[in-house]
Amino acid sequence: MQKNLFITLGLIVVTVTGALAKKEPAVPALSTQKQLALVRVNVTGQSYDYFRPWQKKAPFSKRALGAVLSKARVLVTADLVSNQNYVELERAESGEKTAAKVQVIDYEANLALLEPTEKTFLDGITPLEITPDTVVGDRLAAWQLEPTGALLATEGLVTTVQMMPYPIDVGQFLTYRISIPMQYRENSYTVPLVKNNKLAGLLLRYDSRSQLLDAIPAPIITHFLKEAESQNYRGFPSAGFSFFPTRDPELRQFAGEKGKSDGVYVTNVEPNTPAMKAGLEVGDIVTAVANHEIDQNGNYVDPLYGKIEFTNLLTAHAYSGDVVPFRIQRSGKPMELKVTLEHRDAKDYVSPPYNLDQPPAYYVLGGLIFQEAPQRLVYLDHFQSELFPEGNRRVVILSQVLPANSTIGYDDLSYLTVTKVNGKEIKSLGDLAEAVKQPINGFIKIETEEDPKQIELDAAQVAAEAPNLQENYGISSLHRLD
């Protein structure tokens, strides 16, 4: 889990002295800035209770910071505002508050833009510009607020720039790793990292033991902001294939590689993805992407960072809809493929990688609760493309049983994969909802992959018992489908 820092509220802005009086400080001449480009963000939210999918959990509240950008927008992490009910902005120096709404959110890149309902709320604040050129060796300052509202700035060194997984693990994104001794302040999710009074990154996670901070870097933020300007936010693109290094000369020879021994070996191409549509095949060797040559480990030479994994070319550098040239070798024959990148939506997975701000679908049938398989079914989640190569379906499970007259003897069943209902194959909760309407001689027959393999209910009894079940267990509605 992500480790977050916390800071408390404060009211006064003071200039920074002493601690930052180093050579080339990351926070120079702060006194020139009248109002810090920081606001407090107070979020109240509720997540859905997966085990009681008809209800939400008790409300939580989070207090964090937001970076004020141009056009009265406030940048925060998606993690802060996901499953939110109410977002409030608070001026650090005056304590003045206003409601805000989430304009755009990208759970995968972990970024969100807020806008205050009161348009003039951010007036007087000089927005942060963004500096995209941070490299290893640069010093960045983490901006937090003291309880008084004064700035707490901590300086750190960028040690690494590389591709790393973000909290929602759908591939890797460019990340800055910064060695920095952050101090705990009550409450903070979104700590901006600043270079020369310009925004260089946003805190992603911090490990207090190793004092290492991972930050969402400016190039990812810029990509997000650029796309947020368009009417229809699509998200970061992906190509949809897996690869393996070609360091092993036997593997290169097996793949029939000729000439320079570079590139990566394609191990899997997922169905209905840009890579498959472009004709990429398992066993191909990808030697260049977007005219950058790829080495045996899958790295290209970036002008800013040096060697970094080529997936950066498909995320930070490219947008959905872009056509990216791939140079490949197929059995030694050089070829060029045009890959039209697309964003892969969470709903396009058999087991969606996240389900935020969305009520979970469920179906209650006489005390049996059916749901679509969540990420927690680890094996299914991990091997979904292998288990369901055709994709385009869901896995429905009997997640739990609420004791009732119709479910006597079934009380201990849980996490069973539903294969058929009344003889019909089940590939989504919608299939199940349809199938239960056609009982066999008055019985609903549910077949499961695991023991007991079959469960039967009396359709009339289920219907008769439904009001009682709802009453007893406080189930507001017996089903919710997509």
């Binding site: 290094p245 000369p249 036997e250 899997n268 094996y379 003897g409 393999k453 039967e456």
Partner: protein, 538 residues
């Protein structure tokens, strides 16, 4: 969770660290810190004895002189090394108890003598250590019979007799050598519970076991638990103090008697099993759907293991109504000797070659089937511990291939999801049909020919040069062929592992020498040592 407890249990049973001193078999077990308390002096007789006062006597010894039956067993065992399977393995020493029964035999736990290479027994009041040999080991019910060839050993020993299952709350006494010590120790307690329990020695078998509140500790294993002068059970497992206290288990006499009967023909044939899973039939709607009467009778067959005796006799969806004439209740119980017990207890009492008659309900029609217990459902053995066998493996080009089993998992503790899935669902998903051996590339002995192959570690071999590999033998045959390259496909999306045969052949001796590999393969599950009788005659 349950498995965790079991592991705690195992460590606790036998070969506690103080006894497991490798390479130092001569070291003595921990000595008690304080000398044994002296026997109180007899009260001096009264001087003026007018009326004869009865001399106070100690409490009656209800179990007789158990010292004359109890033996202390010291076992030196060689534990196979699954990470370097060509080596013999580590040497460990442990102490357990045993007791003399009829026919000059000593009964003890299988885990006391498992993997043993040298056994000695001692008896109370005799300074000699007598070499002993194993006659029969039943790893599935944690019992073993050993004997001593010294002619006079059994002369002054009293064979113990077996009693029945003791009543709940009745008092029992456990005898043995807890936490070492050379003198017999006695603890008492009551019978707390009689139920089916997992026997942790194999970690897959469940049999009747009796929970007692008598303290038993490492060194009690194999010792008798007595009541009214008869053996009520054999102490065998418990929990370490941080899991549960005052919970110890003994193997009850029905399990012991079955073992003794099984070996009476000169070999141990193991338990037989229907190798099915079943579900209770308590739901009225389900009963009506199946066309059953409302009579609380019958259980539903859910899975039939293909490799077991019920394959092609039973099928999922069948309802079992009676077993050998005993009606099966809808919760799976039958009435046996006036007690309710799981219907599989009927099968527990069977032997190899026996059969069982089942009245079943199939497609709303009654029918009768007979199941003969001729073959063992071997896939279960993969999920349990094995003893007294050498690990199977094949080393080729520095790549170590081993079949997946519980011992392998415990040696490597892999976190790989696919490996764990193959192990856990080996039977449930009938994975053994495609992969009788789940062949894992467990380790790589680095050499220039395999320097880039580290990412393949933990993979499961699927095919070589287009041919499916189902067993370790097939893997060996595949490598015995002479193509230019071996293209090894692992299960899943990974890239193929390609080996240049000539390079591997040239490297074989080099790798063997560098890593001191005595033998490049062991394909057969062979006994780890010569038969104990032979060993003793050397």
């Amino acid at each position: 969770m349950k498995r965790l407890l079991i592991l705690v249990c195992i460590a606790w049973l036998f070969g506690s660290p103080s006894y497991a001193q490798q390479n130092n078999p001569a070291s003595s077990p921990v000595e008690p810190q304080a000398p044994l308390p002296a026997v109180p002096a007899k009260p001096s007789p009264p001087v003026q004895a007018v009326v004869p006062v009865p001399v106070p006597v100690g409490p009656r010894k209800p179990n007789g002189p158990v010292q004359k039956s109890l033996v202390r067993i010291t076992a030196t065992a060689v534990e196979p090394d699954y990470k370097a399977p060509w080596n013999a393995g580590g040497i460990q020493r442990g102490v357990g108890a045993g007791f003399v029964i009829s026919g000059n035999r000593i009964l003890t736990n299988a885990h006391v003598v498992a993997n043993s290479r040298y056994l000695t027994v001692e008896r109370e009041g005799d300074p000699n250590k007598y070499p002993a040999t194993v006659q029969f080991v039943a790893n599935d019910c944690d019992l073993a019979l050993i004997t001593v060839s010294a002619p006079d050993f059994f002369k002054n020993m009293l064979p113990l007799r077996f009693g029945e299952i003791p009543a709940l709350e009745s008092t029992v006494s456990a005898y043995g050598y807890p936490i070492g010590g050379e003198r017999m120790s006695v603890t008492t307690g009551i019978v707390s519970r009689i139920d089916f329990q997992l026997y942790t020695h194999s970690s897959i078998d469940q049999h009747l076991a009796i929970q007692i509140s008598a303290q038993i500790n490492p060194g009690n294993s194999g010792g008798p638990v007595m009541q009214d002068g008869k053996v009520a059970g054999v102490a065998f497992q418990g929990y370490s103090g941080d899991v549960a206290q005052g919970v110890a288990y003994m193997i009850p006499t029905p399990v012991i008697n079955r073992f003794l009967k099984d070996v009476s023909d000169g070999h141990y044939d193991k338990y037989v099993d229907l190798a099915i899973s079943y579900s209770k039939l308590q739901n009225p709607a389900q009963r009506r759907f199946l066309g059953l009467k409302d009579d609380d009778r019958g259980v539903l067959v859910s899975t039939v293991v293909e490799a077991g005796p019920s394959a092609s006799v039973l099928r999922p969806g069948d309802v079992l109504l009676t077993i050998d004439g005993h009606p099966i209740a809808s919760d799976g119980n039958v009435e046996l000797d006036g007690e309710r017990a799981d219907f599989q207890e009927v099968v527990e009492r069977k032997f190899k070659g026996d059969s069982v008659k089942l009245d079943i309900w199939r497609d709303k029609q009654p029918t009768t089937v007979k199941i003969e217990f001729l073959k063992t459902a071997w896939p279960y053995l993969v999920q349990g511990h094995s003893y007294d066998v050498r690990p199977r493996y094949l080393l080729y080009g520095g790549l170590l291939f081993q079949p997946l089993n519980l011992d392998l998992l415990e040696a490597y503790r892999p976190t790989d999801l696919r490996l764990r899935h193959f192990f856990e669902y080996f039977i449930l998903e009938q994975l053994y049909l495609q992969h009788p051996d789940v062949i894992v590339l467990t380790n790589i002995l680095p050499d220039p020919i395999n320097t880039y192959l580290a990412p393949y570690r933990g993979g499961i071999v699927d095919e070589i040069n287009g041919k499916k590999i189902r067993t370790l033998d097939e893997l060996a045959s595949a490598f015995a062929e002479t193509p230019e390259h071996f293209v090894i496909r692992m299960i899943g999306d990974g890239p193929p592992l390609v080996l240049d045969r000539n390079k591997v052949e040239a490297a074989r001796e080099r790798i063997k020498t560098r890593y001191n590999v005595l033998k490049e393969k062991n394909l057969e599950e062979q006994p780890a040592s010569k038969s104990p009788q032979q060993a003793n005659n050397i």
